[in-house]
């Protein structure tokens, strides 16, 4: 099961990468309190004002190109950056291993409808 989003930001990939990996900047848009070692194998802790806390491990860190975090509870999030004329295209994919049955069911339904 996954959710994807694609947005273009009017900023170069280096700047967007910093916003994705610098804990101080992450605290401006992603979570309220962030600890992160943004290197492969590094650990991250994200806390929100509502009491929620999530931990992650950095699986892939290719500066200005690709960041993959594995959530300790489950699932993962992949962020890829692509330089485009208007700035940077950011592609987000968050996936969870659960409800695989529902996804397969849905995929089958779509396949059936296109047959």
């Amino acid at each position: 099961m996954e959710v994807t989003r694609e947005v273009v930001f009017p900023a170069p990939p280096d700047e967007v990468w910093e916003a994705l990996t610098d804990p101080e900047q992450l605290e401006e848009w992603f979570a309220n309190d962030v600890e992160l070692d943004p290197r492969e194998g590094g650990a991250g802790v994200f806390r929100w004002d509502n009491g929620e806390e999530r931990r992650a491990t950095v699986v892939v860190a290719e500066p200005s190109e690709r960041l993959v975090l594995d959530w300790d509870d489950e699932g993962s999030v992949e962020l890829t950056l692509e330089e485009v004329e208007e700035g940077t295209l950011l592609h987000v994919r968050e996936s969870t291993p659960e409800v695989a049955t529902a996804l397969e069911l849905r995929a089958c339904a779509l396949a059936v409808s296109h047959a």
Binding site: M1, V7, P10, E15, Q25, L105, V112
Partner: protein, 107 residues
Amino acid sequence: MTDPTGRVFDALADPNRRYVLEALAERETATATELAAELPVTRQAVAKHLAALNEAGLVERRRQGRETLYELTPGPLGEAMDWMAGVGAQWDARLAALRRHLRSRRS
């Protein structure tokens, strides 16, 4: 198809029916009127889709006064829809905040 799995496949094959399912996933319960207000389909069409989804066991309904309330049937597909709607909304909010943040750094 008359077997239960076949009805689910039929129910999901129509894109408008999937929109109804996703719109319902974002609320606990809704009436056909409420859903029609947020989708580009008529109330009549929404009611037909809800009936098909009910037939397939994907939504449940109960009467409240003169209205019929619909909600996702608890279970794997309902959870999937809830997860997608929740995480999708979360990312929309974060990316909007990221956009504001990047803009504020440039000025």
